[in-house]
Subunit: 256 residues, 2 copies
DNA sequence: GTGTTTTGTTCGAGTAGCTTGAATCAGTGC
DNA sequence: GCACTGATTCAAGCTACTCGAACAAAACAC
């Protein structure tokens, strides 16, 4: 979970292959020609890359179109299961969704960004861009800020240096000093709010799951339309509920 | 979903990188030295590979140990969502799990093998080796055989030629002629049984989801202990239930 | 404590093999 | 029919990937 070290001489071939996967993730499907325009190399090279990936089931051919193969699910599931947190958090996230009737997410930090490892929707929950596996900036949402505030200062600095503070809505915190103030506030109260900082009209609360040293190993958030998530429900009721859950998960993680 | 063509000159670098991912999938975690023993190249090369993969979040470093990064989830989810089948099948698989109280799987064919794209467990359902994303031989289980029987003969032959008929339990069909007979039977009755052919003590029924030309686009299966899945419940009740569900899904897939 | 072994990591040189562009083939539109 | 766009193949050239040796750092034996 640490910041990845700069690689001295990365293998270009691998990086270009990942570039292909990334492009297909964003654009769903692509032809050899289209990919050649995106990468910066000869068409024959792109062709060979994509054929190699397809021969290994990482890509699937459909006529001239290529897409990501579901073999990735295999790798993804293995990775997810490694996070014991997933096993501990899943049932409680499900319960929270039932209880609050809103969208619940469990996220962890990886390489200075957040990854949603599990989500459950309540009866009224909103659909957002988010998906399982979705990678996000820590400073842009409730769970991420909850995690960020419960990391060592040095790691927070590293993270900001590495990824910057890109904005997403007019409300997103993009100023370093402002973020540090917010972090202090979150540390004091023990949980984080998100007032339309990631999606317009969306509010959220996030609380960190911490280890015995009070370092975040993940976070859980509740999000919903600003119209429903407001007043004492947002300010008191949800935080209390969340804190109970994250404490319980934290204890279970510490005492297997 | 077709059989992937043999690649003329696959890119070795990419294949070796995939080899690393595959090893980590099987062994959860590995060091540079361990991986060097597995691959057949210099330690410095392995090192460069793993660092490059880690720098792109496909691998995560934890001290000297490397594991798969959950970035794969991201790719996997994108791939899964492409299969519209997933959206159609999910709610019905959930219902079946509730109703039968056994384990339900939805699988598709990719490159001549089956991939579990969604699973739901009923109250009493058994835990097997299977996972979402799990790749399997078509001839070894109920859903796979249901799919196999509803493919064009040419594709069946190609599949057998490509992957052979490896055994798994003493009951697995490993003889070509026997398999063709079984395929005829399955085509006649419209669904497939699995009597301890993949796991000892486990029975299952699988029915294909077909398109307008009666070609399989996937399958749904119910599996459970042989002691519970037997007699008229297995022979009549479950098949009827399954056929209703797969027909409904097939119709929805044909008329979006 | 010291010597020994095992690990990850760096670096320059050499050549395996990746990249390239041109040529060929397959399909579409006009 | 021809032109055009796309995928695919191939030999030749040179990039950059691989290697082994050397170093650093940690783990271990005694």
């Amino acid at each position: 979970m640490a910041i990845p070290p700069a690689v001295n001489r990365p293998v270009g071939t691998i990086e270009r292959a990942i570039e292909i996967m990334e492009y297909l993730k964003e654009n769903d499907t692509a032809t050899v020609s289209e990919m050649t325009d995106h990468l910066d190399c000869a068409k024959s090279t792109t062709h060979r890359y994509m054929k190699t990936l397809a021969a290994n089931s990482l890509l699937v051919e459909d006529g001239n179109e290529y897409q990501l193969g579901i073999r990735f699910l295999d790798y993804g599931e293995v990775a997810r299961n490694k996070y014991r947190l997933y096993d501990e958090a899943k049932p409680r996230v499900d319960e929270l969704a039932e209880e609050t009737e809103e969208k619940i997410w469990c996220a962890v930090e990886e390489h200075g960004r957040s990854v949603h490892i599990y989500g459950a929707q309540g009866k009224h929950s909103v659909q957002t861009y988010a998906r399982v596996g979705h990678r996000n900036y820590l400073h842009q949402h409730a769970a991420g800020k909850a995690i960020l505030a419960h990391l060592p200062d040095s790691q927070i600095t590293e993270t900001i240096d590495r990824h910057g503070l890109p904005g997403r809505t007019p409300e997103t915190i993009t100023d370093r000093d402002e973020l540090w103030e917010e972090i202090e506030t979150i540390r004091d109260r023990g949980y984080a709010f998100n007032f339309q900082e990631s999606v317009e009209g969306l509010h959220a609360v996030g609380a960190p799951i911490t280890d015995e040293n009070d370092i975040a190993i993940g976070a859980i958030s509740v999000s919903g339309p600003a119209s429903r998530l407001e007043g004492p429900f947002l300010r008191d009721e949800l935080p209390t509920l969340l804190l109970g859950v994250v404490n319980e998960i934290g204890i279970n993680m510490a005492h297997p």
